[in-house]
């Protein structure tokens, strides 16, 4: 994908975030179903039937199948990458079907089988994919109950469904889902549409949802039995390597492939700028690559280096068009009348996602059809990309995403899939391409860097009267302040991004929240107010208020504030994004000899509506906090003349065991709204809370992430 299209991706994602995304390209043939699901599957669907379906309805059978062993197969286009969607969607189906989670077999992200549920991103699984799965399961239960009622000539309302068994209490008659799977009539009724108005189990009656169901395939993860995208081995498979330019924008002028071609069992493909190698072992493919790379001649073009990054982003700020501010009231007038005006700029470095499993794909062409096993968030989109790339129709590309090793927004694009498919096509053998860590650091896209310009005015009572916020490059998520301010101007401005950038866990909300919550802290100092009291006085979001008060109470904010020294600081921050709210209080220690900041404790309160899986939510919050510590304290891409210098875990230090603070996590449940996703927003409060704590201890305000400064040495 080009740099430009990824930038678009960022905006597109944000714009799409409020939409339920599923389209209706499914192609379920009896043959593929029987291949995948095997015997026991008695309900199949014909291609004719699914093609006849269009518009916004989907037949039950596209989502759900009964098996004669009493299990239920549920189909989803969502991807599992450690965030917990497999457990959550299994729970959703089990709840409405009245079966145990163990009776649900969830097939995820296989484009030959599953409906297009949209990209796995933006915390959308919970709000936008759990409901359709529940509706499908509830519709199925209703259809099956009606079927039993008809068979027994009784009123459906007199029947009970429990543990996959339909019972007529008066007569003692029972039918299990397994029994019903054997009936032809069941396949007929499952062609009926999923009803979006079907009654779902009310919150108070949840049995499976709301409980800490473990990930269904977790045993395979501790035994090594699960096959990740990088573990897919096909008969006769070769291992592929691809030649990379030495720097961004460099183009290949000449290369001598003689040495590589002379190697036994090595296949070499050179097509334009693409030079790839395939061999029976990674070792041999790497040798061939290295031999060829030595001879490559490149034409380089000047590139921006990280030391000039922020001035470059500012200089190229776009105005007009998309980059016009949203305003309320009159900011300029309010600023001119303010008794104090603050004006500060914040910066955020590029960071890399570094999921533990780098990009990987295995591709295989059989009879003109391409099958790829790979780790991407967007199976149908990458399927379409591959189809276009190879000039075939979508049904000639099957993309399968086995549960993968992390993503964090970093795997929306299918580079490895394309490379493996290309090599496989050329050498007529299955080929696996596994990116190295260095490739992942260098050629995967980055979280956008940011420059954020903030101005605000306070009146003589210390109230905020004006707010002017210009966020250059990261995008618009989380850009609106949750504070009541009469005069505001808010702008998300594009610019020229020197590096390839794209989505990341909570994307722009981390940068925008860092700037806002640091700036709010500065304003509280200017207003001579306690940072907590200042926020509470201005907050107009009652949900944030609740979590902020909860975090402050558990942390004992008032008393902890009194214990601040020049080495020990406490700070807090709050925010909202993706319809969930978060607040964090932190305690930090600064080594004034080295200037090193250590986060000692994080107390975080989080609310995302009714909790679907408390243990998984806790894991997500812990993971967000830990992941957030990296870019807050250390992580930053260093690059020079188009070369990424932060290209290993030596030169780019992610959080480790030694960095874990004491974590005090509070799940605040709000049962008055629908469930929202919880895997992203807990990250946004960490960096500003740390920066605010540093200020509290030292009086030094750090306005650039990562928060590092020689000034802390004193």
């Amino acid at each position: 994908m080009t740099r430009e299209s990824l930038i678009d991706d960022v905006f597109e994602l944000e714009q799409d975030e409020t939409q339920a995304l599923w389209t209706h390209e499914f192609d379920l043939t009896r043959r593929t179903f029987l291949q995948v699901l095997g015997a026991g599957l008695l309900i199949t669907v014909t291609q004719d039937m699914t093609q006849a379906q269009s518009g916004r309805t989907m037949p039950v059978i596209a989502r759900l199948h009964l098996n004669t062993d009493g299990t239920v197969t549920v189909l989803t286009g969502k991807v599992e990458e450690g965030q917990g969607s497999r457990a959550e969607l299994s729970q959703a189906a089990a709840e409405e079907l009245r079966v145990s989670v163990g009776q649900v077999r969830l097939i995820m992200a296989d484009t030959d089988l599953v409906p297009d549920d949209g990209i796995t991103a933006g915390s959308r699984t919970t709000p936008y994919n759990v409901p359709p799965v529940r509706q499908a399961a509830a519709t199925a239960r209703e259809l099956l109950t009606n079927l039993a009622a008809r068979q027994w000539q009784v009123n459906a309302e007199t029947l009970e469904v429990l543990n996959g068994k339909i019972t007529h209490t008066a007569t003692g008659k029972t039918l299990t889902y397994g029994d019903l799977a054997a009936l032809d009539t069941t396949s007929e009724v499952f062609k009926g549409s999923i009803r979006s108005d079907v009654t779902l189990t009310p919150l108070g009656q949840w049995k499976t949802m709301g409980t800490s169901v473990p990930r269904p395939n977790s045993r395979d993860l501790v035994t090594g039995a699960h096959h990740y995208p990088s573990d897919q081995i096909r008969p006769g498979m070769l291992y592929g390597k691809v030649l990379r330019p030495p720097s961004y924008g460099a183009t290949l002028e000449a290369i001598d492939l003689g040495a590589a071609q002379a190697m036994k069992d090595v296949f070499v493909l050179h097509e334009g700028q693409f030079v790839g190698f395939a061999a029976p072992t990674t070792f041999l493919a790497t040798r061939a690559l290295e031999a060829a790379a030595q001879t490559a001649q490149w034409k380089t073009v000047p590139q921006v280096s990280s030391r000039d990054l922020f001035s470059h982003l500012k200089k190229n700020k776009q105005t007009g068009g998309r980059s016009r501010p949203r305003t309320t009231g009159d900011v300029d007038k309010a600023l001119s009348e303010a008794s104090q005006v603050l004006n500060e700029t914040y910066e955020v470095a590029y960071v890399q996602h570094t999921p533990m499993e780098p990009r990987a794909a295995t591709a295989e062409w059989t009879d003109g059809k391409l099958t790829v096993w790979t780790g991407v968030d967007s199976p149908q989109r990458v399927q379409g990309d591959l189809a276009r790339e190879f000039g075939v129709s979508n049904d000639k590309v099957r993309l399968i995403v086995p549960d993968m090793g992390g993503g964090f927004g970093g795997k929306h694009s299918g580079e490895a899939a394309e490379e493996a498919a290309r090599l496989s096509k050329a050498c007529a053998r299955p080929v696996a391409v596994h990116w190295t860590r260095e490739e992942e650091f260098t050629w995967a896209y980055f979280r956008p860097a940011a420059v954020i310009e903030c101005r605000a005015g306070l009146d003589d009572t210390g109230s905020l009267t004006a707010w002017d916020f210009t966020s250059i490059n990261p995008g618009s998520s989380g850009i609106d302040p949750p504070y009541g301010i009469a005069n505001m101007s808010i702008l998300s401005a594009g610019t020229d991004s020197p590096l390839r950038q794209g989505a990341y866990r909570c994307l722009a909300a981390t940068a925008n929240n860092f700037a806002r919550e640091s700036f709010i802290d500065e304003l509280s100092v200017a207003a001579k107010a306690d940072p907590l009291a200042f926020r509470l006085a201005h907050l107009n979001n009652p949900r944030i208020r609740t979590v902020l008060e909860a975090a402050a109470r558990h942390f004992d904010w008032g008393n902890r504030r009194k214990k601040i020294t020049r080495e020990l600081g406490v700070g807090l921050a709050c925010g909202t994004e993706k319809n969930s709210v978060v607040a964090a209080c932190v305690e930090i220690l600064i080594d004034r000899k080295t200037g090193q900041i250590r986060v000692v404790e994080v107390c975080e309160a989080f609310e995302c509506g009714p909790i679907v899986n408390p243990d998984n939510l806790t894991s997500q919050i812990q993971g967000c906090i830990c992941m957030g510590l990296g870019p807050a304290l250390r992580e930053a891409m260093v690059f020079e003349d188009g070369r990424i210098l932060s290209n290993s875990f030596y030169t780019y230090q992610v959080p480790r065991f030694a960095d874990i603070p004491k974590l005090d996590i509070h799940l605040v449940e709000n049962r008055d709204i629908p469930s929202a996703g919880g895997g992203e927003t807990p990250i946004i409060a960490i960096a500003p809370a740390i920066g605010n704590a540093v200020f509290a201890a030292t009086g030094i305000r750090l306005r650039s992430m990562p928060l590092q400064s020689d000034k802390l040495k004193a």
Partner: protein, 160 residues
């Protein structure tokens, strides 16, 4: 130049003829199809590739296969006894110390090596020892709890 080596992998004798400078990691994954051992960095920085060689935790990504002739290698696939999980595996499950699980085999192997040599480690020992391994998903707390849990079980077995 290929050489022939013999080693024991998960209790089975294996004879392998290959280039001795290949990484043990690749030989396990590509030749023996033992894909439970993961690649995370290839530079001895993340622990995803940890295996036991003669009982010691080793990064298989920087171990030339030529150096393991006549040794005993144990990978994550070799820990369970039939259906019975190794206590460390069971502890990871019980604590829910898994998200994507990609770091998990390496974490488990590293923890097994620790508990074999120090059945009752202090928290600071666990953290220092496990610091060699990176997890990007889960914030380490549950992994720490899993190692503690496995250690507690050790204690229960050894101290009646």
């Amino acid at each position: 130049m290929d050489v022939t080596m013999s080693l024991t992998v998960n209790g089975e004798k294996k004879t392998i003829t290959t280039d001795p400078s290949r990484r043990l990691l690749d030989v396990l994954r590509e030749d023996l199809q033992l894909t439970g051992t993961k690649y995370g960095c290839g530079q001895s920085q993340c622990g995803a590739c940890t295996v036991l060689i003669n009982g010691r935790a080793v990064h298989s990504c920087v171990t030339p296969v030529g150096s393991v002739n006549n040794t005993e290698v144990i990978t994550v696939e070799g820990l369970a006894r039939g259906d019975v999980l190794h206590p460390v595996q069971a502890a990871f499950l019980a604590e829910g110390a898994i998200q994507c699980g990609y770091c998990t085999p390496g974490m488990i192997m590293r923890a097994v090596a620790l508990l074999d040599s120090d059945p009752n480690p202090s928290d600071s020992t666990i953290k220092a020892w496990m610091n060699a391994n990176i997890c990007r998903c889960n914030g380490y707390t549950k992994i720490l709890n899993a190692v503690r849990r496995a250690a507690r079980q050790n204690l229960e077995v050894t101290v009646p």
